[in-house]
Symmetry: C2
Subunit: 382 residues, 2 copies
Amino acid sequence: MHPVAILGIGQTKIDEHWQRSLRDLAGEAALAALHDAGRESAAGLFVGNMLSGMIDNQNNLAALIADWTGLGSTEAVKVEAACASGAAAFRAGLMAVASGELASALVVGVEKMTERSPHEVTAALATAADADYEVEAGISFVGLNALVMRRYMHEYGWQHADFAPFSINAHANAMYNPFARLHQRITVEQFEKSAMIATPINLLDASPIGDGAAAALLVPAGTLSRVPRITVSGSASATDTLAIHDRPDALLLTAAYKSAQAAYKMAGVRPEDIDVFELHDAFSIMSALSLEACGFAERGQGPRLGLDNEINPQGRVPICTRGGLKARGHPVGATGMYQIVEVVQQLRGECSKTQVDGARIGMAQNIGGSGATILTHILKRE
Amino acid sequence: MHPVAILGIGQTKIDEHWQRSLRDLAGEAALAALHDAGRESAAGLFVGNMLSGMIDNQNNLAALIADWTGLGSTEAVKVEAACASGAAAFRAGLMAVASGELASALVVGVEKMTERSPHEVTAALATAADADYEVEAGISFVGLNALVMRRYMHEYGWQHADFAPFSINAHANAMYNPFARLHQRITVEQFEKSAMIATPINLLDASPIGDGAAAALLVPAGTLSRVPRITVSGSASATDTLAIHDRPDALLLTAAYKSAQAAYKMAGVRPEDIDVFELHDAFSIMSALSLEACGFAERGQGPRLGLDNEINPQGRVPICTRGGLKARGHPVGATGMYQIVEVVQQLRGECSKTQVDGARIGMAQNIGGSGATILTHILKRE
């Protein structure tokens, strides 16, 4: 593969954008990324989105966004891998540029979810799980994660409050991210007392949905004079069984382990070289499992990093530095692109009070389903 | 790009497969393609599908199919571009192999549509059009095509019966394709008398939906000893406005023209070099427009090729040699991969009574929406 760089980034605030359409949100992020890159168009458009068909009655979304943003007759395609759709679109754009086939790729993650009822959104999100063997049995997506969290607490002896630092860190960091959905610090007491959703997952274990879009422009690194140069030095994707009950070990994110190992190898780095890690904290349990699968903690010891103050921007393993899914928000198909944009912001030193000092290597990991599709990207400032 | 070859193909019969699941159909085609290639696995899986979320309550489909077919933790992603999803997945897999990132790519187009009511399927198919500015006004997808056909007939003075050869040829060719949905010859009289759907489009102008899957295994051409070697020598994708009313000329498939020209250039061929052309005859009018946009007929003269007997397997421009969308069937997200599989069959000389004598260069063109996303692929026997 030819080396590829991220020349521009853009994003919208995540919110309940009832007055704005899907194309409008995607267009704002896409045009912001082009503007940031100093470009007027792109050779190809790659859209990450999970639910536009079910929620917005709109498929063929990539052609629509190419049309709306004035990209003309450019090649355009939508990529779907449930909540990992954003990173999957990024990887598709990356390969198109790395192959030499496209001179540039604009990648946009977009989702608009808040106009439907919670019941409809819950049903739509459940399509990330196995329709025939999980959802048919009556379980929701949060229910599946609750079973995993309960098993994890039983297996390793953690209390619910031990997960509080993940959510507290995310909310604290989001205070300094104007694009975040939630701007509200939380305490351990609030974390423990919030409304129960599916035992043991309560409201403050769970990330909020939202409407939003985030984008990046990929170009061959060789042609680039912009300083600092942010390159994609590691990229990998792996899958696991769709249904959790088919896994030998329900507490191991095998696809996170495999995609992280492949990305480390490609980038020539080890976990201790990662300065900032935007992980997929859809639920607090997922933060623990991701940290473990990616080599930042021993099996069963993920919560220890939070309790030891290692996950904040001054810690050894800074995560969710812009609020994570928990507080920046989780517009599902857009999330992976928010993570990429946020890692770029860290490597550029644009993160004000949550800036990781001297961040040079950042990692983003995006998860689709209950760990079924996991993509890991490593970016470097050069 | 490194040169890429198609090493194996597989497909299921298109039918109302009420007793079979989405994963089962995809698995049959995927494993058939691997078997045909003499391989046991693939480095990546690319799935083309439009409606699994809306119709089958299943997203994250690529991870599911990787799991079901025993591909292990391989990278897997779904690509959506409405009815062009199949070819869009093929192009994504092509770029992954051409970039050198993946040693092989298994591409599967799959759709399962027939268990829902016609009303639900019609609503789902309408998501290929512009939800806010076309569908919101109350028009269906066939309605949009009917407006185009009526305008075309008015503009160029054709009668409805002049389109009969497109459907008659498709049905005649499907008689020799065991995977086709319809095995029934039709006459001009039947064509003229069939039930009206949306004037002037009647039942025999329109392709039937269906359940089915088709697959191909892509590998670097350099490593290949199989004879004949089928290479992908041209690949291009282009978009147009999503809504037809935004186009300066509603009768010109600009994206077909652009993607065909780019594919011709890449392959170093001209229209007259194409021995077989699997085009996207979702409605008979689309056959005329595609032939014109790709340089096989002058503007407004597409029907002439049918009336002059030029489109059958012995003609100058053989199209829909395995039945086309009209008679092989149109399981929307799978169709693009059926076209690829059928061109490979022609180049291998496996098409019995509809074999195009000495076919060496074949073209497949897949359309998403009312011409909004169009991909053109040119394959060569070497």
